[in-house]
């Protein structure tokens, strides 16, 4: 955690984008090292080794750890006014040039590239107003390899928790090597279709070492962790004991006739960074419970 005196919001967001791109959150690095300790498959060992070496080089050279610098997803929580959206957009434009980040955004129909990671509907910002006295800006860089594996299923309430668990497991197995495992499985259970999908992604912001207070959810997370890692899919889908580093579940109330479940997979490069702006201080970290 670094504490700095207040900088303009644009600069704070530029810092966030730089940190997220170049420094893997510590909780993911620890989980990866633990995995390398128990992994028995030599191909899997080579993949974990290559990832960790790449992470070290990226941090040392200040380069993005992955060429797919993704779509930056922002969460703004606390007190704020609407001008913050302009600041975030400016920071995205500047950082695309300065870090540099790969220009990823295109028109969905004619596929021309905007060149600056902006364009209609971008940057993607979720606002969470609270009565707190701080402004917290979080960012997650979401690459297409993992985002393209997102699934939503409107289960029948009669499918119960077995239906939920099987759907999550199958989603990860079907994704195979495409979302660059080992990563994090974000899950939303309940809510409406849109809220459910949003929860699944928001769950990926949570540090792996954050202890889930809800007993039932914690048990489900642990069961899925064991079941997925026992599958043998392994890093990059090349076989091994390490397919996920963690499972994170969020729940919300839903209609009595519905049981929505969403899965959003985060790759090993689940790149996050957060800044909490309080008075004239900025506190930086690399995860948030939203």
């Amino acid at each position: 955690m670094v504490i700095k005196l207040l900088e303009p919001t644009v600069e704070v967001v530029e810092n966030l984008l730089r940190v997220a791109n170049t420094k893997l959150p510590a909780d993911i690095g620890w989980a990866m090292e633990a995995a390398a300790g128990w992994e028995r498959n030599p191909t899997a060992q080579s993949q974990l080794g290559a990832i960790m070496e790449n992470v070290r080089k990226a941090e040392h050279l200040g380069k993005p750890m992955c060429q797919d610098t993704g779509i930056p997803i922002f969460y703004v929580r606390g007190k704020f006014d609407s001008s913050i959206a302009d600041d975030i957009a400016e920071a995205v434009r500047n950082s695309t040039k300065n870090i540099p980040m790969r220009p990823n955004t295109v028109d969905p129909i004619i596929r021309t590239n905007f060149g600056n990671n902006l364009g209609n509907g971008m940057p993607c910002i979720h606002f969470i107003p609270t009565k707190d006295d701080f402004t917290e800006i979080s960012v997650m860089l979401k690459g297409a390899g993992s985002e393209n594996m997102t699934r939503l299923k409107m289960l029948n309430p009669a499918d119960g928790m077995k239906g939920v668990m099987d759907f999550i497991f199958e989603s990860v197995i079907d994704a195979g090597g495409r979302p660059c495992p080992p990563g994090i499985v974000g899950v939303g259970i309940g809510g409406t279709a849109d809220e459910c999908t949003a929860m699944a992604k928001r769950a990926l912001m949570e540090p792996l070492d954050y202890e889930e207070p809800d007993e039932e959810i914690r048990q489900m997370e642990e069961d899925l962790f064991v079941r997925i890692n026992s599958s043998g899919l392994g890093p990059m889908g090349l076989g091994g004991d390490t397919t996920v580093l963690g499972v994170k579940i969020r729940k919300a109330a839903c209609h009595t006739a519905s049981l929505p479940v969403a899965v959003n997979i985060g790759c090993w490069a689940t790149r996050r960074a957060c800044a909490k702006i309080m008075g004239d201080k900025v506190e930086y970290s690399q995860g948030a419970v939203l």
Binding site: T43, S46, Q47, A50, I51, E53, N54, K57, A58, L61, K63, P64, M65, C66, Q67, D68, T69, P100, M101, R102, P103, N104, V106, N113, G143, A144, G145, N148, I173, G176, G177, R178, C180, S230, S231, G232, L233, G234, P235, M236, G237, L238, G239, C267, W268, A269
Partner: protein, 188 residues
């Protein structure tokens, strides 16, 4: 780690074994969705296609590039992209250009494996996201064509130096490590 030198002959690639870890030195070009679409369109229309594709080591990669003082382009980060997106066009692409090796992530379809077997081509799995490590093996682009497709989609060419580590995940007999892993998955 085994060091192999591009351009690769059919004999070179047929000698590579499933699961072997290699690094490639020599000419490599990038190509993803748009390069596949345009190259095959050009062939159909009788237009000329950049010669670098013939017998190439093809890297499924959309790199981040930075132009340096002398006008050359340097790689900032360049890991593999998901190969399955190219499944539809790849069999014809491999046959048309005699591709000898594909570097990518996640593996490819049965149809692609068959084309690889027929032509003599291997699939080398790069560690997804290990973009800085692979950037070191690529360094400065020797040439670029079709930059109008955008930075990630352009046809970048490199003289690589020990680009790796890469796992031989589909051999030139069409055997796939991904298939073997899938067949042995524990699904209960």
């Amino acid at each position: 780690m085994k060091y192999i030198e591009a351009p690769l002959s059919e004999k070179d690639v047929r000698a590579l074994k499933l699961g072997e870890i290699v690094a490639v030195t020599g000419p490599v070009c990038t190509g993803r969705d748009e390069v596949h679409i345009r190259a095959l369109e050009y062939v159909d229309e009788g237009k000329e296609v950049p010669g670098c594709l013939n017998g190439a080591v093809l890297y499924h990669c959309g790199p981040i590039m930075k132009q340096i003082e002398n006008g050359k382009w340097m790689v900032v980060a360049a890991g593999p992209t998901t190969s399955a997106r190219m499944n539809k066009l790849e069999p014809r692409f491999i046959k048309e250009f005699g591709i000898r090796a594909i570097i990518g992530k996640g593996g490819m379809s049965k149809e692609v494996c068959n084309a690889m077997k027929e032509v003599g081509c291997v699939y080398l799995a790069a560690t997804g996201g290990a973009a800085v490590t692979y950037a070191e093996g690529l360094s400065v682009a020797s040439n670029v064509d079709w930059l109008d497709l955008g930075m990630p989609e352009a046809l970048w060419q490199f003289n690589t130096n020990k680009l790796g580590p890469l796992v031989v995940a589909i051999d030139a007999e069409g055997n796939s490590l991904y298939e073997q892993v899938r067949a042995n998955l524990k699904l209960d």
